[in-house]
Every structure is written in structure tokens, then in C-alpha cells.
Symmetry: C2
């Protein structure tokens, strides 16, 4: 980057570089393909936020913060309640992640939209902006978030950080800072205030606090930008300083991941959308099992045993043998495979307490074994079915659906949107919401998307 | 601790141990000497919170959050404004730290009261509690905070974390969790939600974001306890898990620092109070220079040069040769020494823009040299003055005032309280506030202390 001299130690001034870039990039500097992917990211996020709106995790969060809300100007998507922008950002960040059905930047396992969109859309309800400006700020925020993630991945993640929370807060600050037109110095301050709120641990997986991470990142990134705007100052080199964020939280820093190709090569264009409502490491297995079910039909009832060969991360993250709850089911490759074979389902409906305890699924689950193979790609799986008659069937999934090689089509995004949103606001309202979400680039006020989801929730509440 | 089996790997379940202890400890289990130190901690904090109430950092924070406040039930000490409890905790945490005049747990350099008291006192304004119950919860919170700090210090601090923020959030959660009577499981959840908000970097020293750290820890610890109370769950082993807080943020974990002597040996009793309004590493130098001034009187005007021998951390943290602002002056052992010699001052009045640029102080400052000696204790300094006539004077400070060997008397605490509080709410209101603060153990509603500081602020506002 011209005009940005590195420090005497040779470290690029990445905080300054990102701040300048976020402020100065024009909408027309973003290629049409990247903008198109940004729209898919937003549409997918809206469906997830509505889908998680009535989850018990959301109820608990709302019980906690509702009494302390400031001016109720921002929508909790899919619900009649409104909250101040900080608490709305928190709750929407929780809802959009809680079904594990959101989006993934596969290089870092960051779920990019949760922190960024939850913050930016809440802001848009008090500082109205067009859909086009919204998408620009969102794409820039996601780009910042993923590049900062790339800089420290995998060491940062391996250390124990839940990177969606820790990198997400920078993305939220960037998107909001762009939208409220911070000066470059204020944007550097915002990154500093964001850094000092960066947190979230993988230890929380399997608890409500996992979903708290994108919500907290959204709330805190929003606060960082609002405080910087008010003149609250901070370090102007928070990311790269010797005792700054990257060196303190990671044993690897690759600054080139932040600066190389900035504005020409787009991480935001690599976003992917979960076809199944669980951690992505199980997706190849579910994909393969659903394919097998389609091929063999009723013969799924004659399976004697199933042998999986997977990447080692699959058992590390999702090796639960005896899940008892829907949530635990998401962390069980065994349940997920059995449910995919017997029900053909990997949507949120596959991870309810009832389904996880269904006798036929439990019985099949107990016949499933898994072997790990470090040479197995994370997006691959090998499945061998043995039938009661002794015959076998072999299925190899080279790249699972939803991976970068097999992206979800717009229709498939619509499908997952509809499944989860309809559970909350009904079929008719879901269709209207889906229609307006795709029209975001044409909207003069993007807050209409948030408010329409709430109107639908109200209508449904009356109908109940 | 009986009844708490370690994990299979032999790690004590410190999250569970601390949670049980915080919930079950009775007021009468806390020795009178510890309670007395707790009262000194609270009184000192009140003076600092009022003292920082009109700092530009406070103004900036208030400008940012005021429009988003929920029910304005909690006092910003020393000001007429009220905020919802979360934002009040944030702002009071900022004000009480911004003058660098607060308290220090010397083993970890944690400033214990900021996170804990800011959270607990805000809560007390919506859930009234007696002064006695308040002090119990505060002491337990500080004990948790300092023990968690001890567990990871110094590696955690050396890595770059500002430990007042990172350990403080646990203390705030503990104090509030105790006050709202969480169940042991809810208290474990609160520690988990607190962990996932733990942050703050030393890189921010010298900026407003340093003071943001205790404020953010207060706000976030309060949120953690409130969410746990509402049923928002989390890991129940957030501190000690293989990918939990201690292992992710530090390369050292000494669990015995958390569990050994819990309830019999008190870190909360080791709290100290800053005699000077700057980082504690400069305190021996200021102490020595004020002693020299008292001994030589007008001869301070005949000093030709000053040679300091200090612990290496002094120059690392406060080695600024040419400070231009009051804030930069706090990070200059050279300014601090010159000002102590020429003005006898180390209070907030020694760190204004005007004083830092006074020609006589700048001239003397430029004659001062510093040599570091790793064998020099952090609380010691060696000072050699050379006068214009060639004569010399040698002063060795073995342990500075404010260190554990030379604690501030109650009168000295009153002195620093009065100096800073009077700048904000005037002498008369300061005296009333000081009186009620010392009477905290007798109060039926500790919120009266907060509210009295605000009444004084209003009175003064009218008088202005």
C-alpha cells in the first residue's frame, strides 16, 4: 500500500491501512460478483436471525436485557420486541448463530455475518441508510474481519479463541465506522476500542455462550465506533503493536494476509452458507448420508452398521456418542449421520430433543463407528454401509455441499431461509420477507427488512 | 477444598470452587482486619470516581452512551447525570481509573476496585442492599479477581494483557452474583459469560481506552451475572478448561494461587492506595523527590542535575523524555521527578498540560538521567542530586509510600480523597461525602453514597 510506511521493525501499519481503506473505498470499487455474494450473505443472515428468534437461548437473553433497554429503536428480527441498538445487536447476533445454520468463511471458520450485520442493521434503524450503502459497509466489515482472521489463523484458533467473536468485533466496528463516516483517525481509534473488547472461547461450544460471542462482538464493535465518533481515543496501531491484539492473542501473525490484494482479492466473496444446522465438520457426513438415502430408499431400514472415515477434527469437535438433547446432537456426528439416513434431514428440525431421542435414530446411531484419517480433507468423508444381509455400499464425498467447490444455489439459500423462518413467522410472512431481502440493493431504507420481520412476528402473535 | 474432586488431568475445578465460595461465605467469615481494608478500598474508590468525573475522557464516554441509556436508575458519581446500570458501571469504572490515582494489588498490578465496585454500586441502586452486604460482596469479588490474577501473573501481563480488565470482569461477576444470590451453577455460568468478555491490552496505556478497561470489565461482569440469573448458560469450567480462559490467555497457570488458603489468607487485605496520580512504578521516585524537597527547601532551585537508579520496568513503562500533555506526563519519570522537586506535588494537579509545560519544570526535567538496575526492587529508588556548586545529595528510598510496607494511613486516604473530590464537587460536599463513605458499614442502603455525590454535583452545577 503506497503512503503507508512500515514501522521501524518492518511491521506494516495494518490498523492504519485497514482504517483508510474502509473509509475511502467507493461502492463502485467493489466488483459486481462480490456485491452479489454480499447480498446472498445478507439474505442468508436474515433467515437465520428469524429462525433463531424463538430459541430458548434468545428467550434467556431477552429476559436478561429487556429491563435495561434504552430507546427501543431497533428490531429483534422475528419478534415483536424492540431494543436499543446495542442490545438489539447483541440479541440478533445470538439469534442468527444459535441454530448453527449461518455462514462460514471456510479458511478461518469465522461466521462473518453475525457480528457485522447484527451491528450494522441495528444502527440502520436510527441512522437510516440505503440498501446499497448498507451492503457496501457490510462487505467492507466482513473483509476486515476475515483478513484479520487470516492473519492469525490457525494459531489463534488453536490456542482456544472462538474467532467469530475475537475477529468479529473488528468487522462490526469497521462496518459501523464506515456507515457513520468516521474520520481515518476515529476509525483507528474504533479498532483500538474494538480490540479491547475482543474475546470468546471455544470452551463455550455446546452452551448458550457460544451464540453470545457473535452477539457480543456486534454490540461491542458498534460501541467502539460510536465511542470513537464521540472523541474517545485509543491506540492507533491496536492490531499490529508489539503488545497489540495479534501478538497477544496469537503465536502467528502474517501481516500479508491483511494487506496483500486488499481491494482486489476479496475474502467476502468466499463466504459460504451452511446447508445443515450444525458445525461444518459434520456436513460431508450428512451430505453423504442424504445422498445414500436418496439412492437406497426403504433399504435404510436394513442397515446393520455404518463406518465413517473422516478428518480428525470431526471427532474432536463432534464426537459425542450419546447426545441427550438437540444441542448435544449438533456435536454428534453419530446422531447426524443416523438422522440423515433415516429422515433425510440436516435442518434445525434434525436437532430437536425429540429427534435426538427417537428410538430408531438412537438404535442406528449405536451401530456407527468413525475412524479418523489426517489425509482426509475437511470437506470429504468416506462412508461404508453394511446391510443386514452382509452386502455393503461405499460412498465417497469428495467435497460436501456448501463447501467452496459446491456452493449453495440461490434456490438452496431460499430453501433454508424458508424452513427456519416459517417455523417462527409462518409461511406467508416468510415469503414477503424473503422477497424484500433480495431487493435490498433497491431499498432506500434497509431498516425496512428488519421491521418487516417484526411486523410478521406481531401478526403471528395475534393469530396464535 | 473438600468436596471438589479435581479433573482426571489433576486440574482443580477452580471455577466451581470459586463459585461455591462466593455464594456460601458469610459476612462473619471475613476477618475484621479484612473488612476494615475493604472499607478503605471503598472510600478510596469513591474519591477517585468523583475526582475523575469531569475528565475529558469521562465527557467523551458520556457523549457516546447517553443517547442509548435505559432506565436512568444509577448515578454517575460526581455528576448530575444518571444512566442505566450497565452504562453507569462503564462510566464509573472509567472515572475511577482515569486519574491513575486508584488502588493497586501490588502482586499483580491489578487495580481491584474499578471493575468490582463500579458494577456492584450500580446494581445497588436498583436492588438496594445494606452497606455491610455491599462490602461483603465487594471483598469477595476483589478476592476472586486478585486470585485469578495471581494464577496467571506475570506471564499473562507480559503477554500484553491489561490485567485490570481481563481479571476484573471475573471480580465484577463474582460481586454481583453474590449480591443477587445466584445459585452455585448460575455463578459458574456467570464466570463463563464473564470469561467470554475478558479483554484489554497494555498497548492502550496513554490513551482513553486504558480507563475503558475497568469500566468495560464492570459493565461486562455485571451483564454476566444478570444473564446467568436469567438462565443463560455457559461452560461451568471456564477458567481452568483445556481451552478455557487461563490456558488461552497465559502460558502460566498456577491453580494453587486460586485455591490455597481461600477464605483464610486474603488478597483483598493486601490492597494499596496510590499516593500519587500515576503508574506505581514512578512512586518511589516521587516519594524520594518530595522528601528531598522537604529537606533542602529553596535549594531545589540550585539543582544542576539528577541521577536516578531504578527498576527496569520504570523506563519501560514511564520513560517518556519529552511529555507534552498532562497524560504524557504520567508516563514520564523525568517530569514526575522534576515536578516533585519543584512543586512537591504528585496529585492529579501535577499532571495537567500547564504543569507539564512549565518552563522551570521542563528545564529541570532535561537534567535528569535514569539508569536501570535489575537488582533494584520495584518499590525502591536511588537518587543522586548534584547542585550547581558541585556538592551532591544522596537519597535512597527502600520502600515507597503506598507500598505494602508503608501503607497510606486513613488520614492520607482522606487527603487524596479531598484533593481530587474538591476539584469536582467543592470542599463542603466533599466533606459530607467522605463522612458518609466511612459510615458505609452502618448504612441500610449503600446507594446513598452514590446519590450523595450526585446531589453535590447538582448543587455545584447550580452554583456555577
Amino acid at each position: 500500500m503506497s503512503g503507508h510506511q512500515p514501522t521501524p521493525e518492518g511491521t506494516p501499519k495494518v490498523t492504519e491501512i485497514l482504517a483508510d481503506w474502509v473509509i475511502t473505498t467507493q461502492t463502485e470499487d467493489i466488483p459486481a460478483t462480490v456485491r452479489a455474494e454480499g447480498l446472498r450473505t445478507f439474505v442468508n443472515w436474515v433467515g437465520c436471525a428469524v429462525g433463531g428468534a424463538r430459541h430458548e437461548t434468545t428467550d434467556a437473553a431477552l429476559r436478561a436485557v429487556m429491563p435495561f433497554s434504552g430507546p427501543r429503536s431497533a428490531t429483534v428480527l422475528g419478534r415483536p420486541e424492540k431494543l436499543d441498538i446495542f442490545h438489539a445487536a447483541l440479541v440478533n447476533g445470538i439469534t442468527s448463530h444459535v441454530l448453527d445454520y449461518d455462514d462460514t468463511h471456510l479458511k478461518t471458520i469465522i461466521h462473518p455475518a453475525g457480528p457485522v450485520v447484527s451491528a450494522l442493521l441495528a444502527l440502520a434503524e436510527i441512522r437510516p441508510m440505503s440498501g446499497e450503502d448498507f451492503l457496501t459497509a457490510m462487505i467492507l466489515g466482513i473483509e476486515v474481519e476475515c483478513r484479520i482472521g487470516n492473519c492469525v489463523y490457525p494459531h489463534h484458533y488453536d490456542r482456544g479463541w472462538h474467532i467469530t467473536g475475537t475477529a468479529g468485533v473488528f468487522g462490526a466496528a469497521a462496518a459501523v465506522g464506515r456507515a457513520i463516516n468516521l474520520s481515518p483517525q476515529q476509525m483507528r481509534w474504533a479498532f483500538g476500542i474494538a480490540a479491547s473488547q475482543s474475546s470468546g472461547f471455544r470452551e463455550m461450544f455446546g452452551t448458550m455462550t457460544k451464540s453470545f460471542h457473535p452477539g457480543s462482538a456486534a454490540k461491542n464493535g458498534l460501541l467502539a465506533a460510536i465511542m470513537a465518533e464521540a472523541g474517545f481515543d485509543s491506540s492507533e496501531r491496536a492490531i499490529e503493536a508489539p503488545r497489540g491484539w495479534a501478538k497477544t492473542t496469537s503465536d502467528k501473525q502474517d501481516w500479508s494476509e491483511i494487506v496483500d490484494g486488499l481491494g482486489t482479492s476479496w475474502e467476502a466473496a468466499l463466504n459460504s452458507y451452511k446447508p445443515f444446522a450444525c458445525g461444518i465438520v459434520i456436513h460431508p457426513t450428512i451430505d453423504g448420508c442424504i445422498q445414500i438415502r436418496a439412492e437406497i430408499g426403504d433399504k435404510v431400514n436394513e442397515i446393520a452398521s455404518v463406518a465413517l472415515t473422516t478428518h480428525p477434527l470431526v471427532l474432536e469437535l463432534t464426537g459425542k456418542r450419546d447426545p441427550k438433547t438437540g444441542l448435544e446432537g449438533k456435536f454428534s456426528v453419530f446422531h447426524s449421520a443416523a438422522c440423515a439416513l433415516l429422515r433425510g434431514d440436516g435442518a434445525p428440525t434434525a436437532f430437536t430433543d425429540e429427534i435426538v431421542n427417537s428410538p430408531d435414530i438412537v438404535a442406528l446411531r449405536d451401530t456407527i463407528t468413525a475412524t479418523t484419517d489426517p489425509t482426509c480433507h475437511e470437506a470429504s468423508v468416506d462412508i461404508v454401509i453394511t446391510f443386514k444381509d452382509g452386502s455393503t455400499l461405499h460412498k465417497h464425498v469428495e467435497r460436501a455441499i456448501g463447501s467452496s467447490d459446491v456452493p449453495l444455489s440461490d434456490d438452496q439459500i431460499n430453501g433454508k431461509f424458508t424452513v427456519q423462518s416459517a417455523m417462527v413467522i409462518g409461511q406467508e410472512a416468510t415469503q414477503k420477507l424473503l422477497d424484500i431481502a433480495w431487493k435490498t440493493p433497491l431499498l432506500s431504507d434497509v431498516g425496512d427488512v428488519a421491521r418487516m420481520s417484526a411486523h410478521a412476528a406481531k401478526d403471528q402473535a395475534v393469530a396464535e
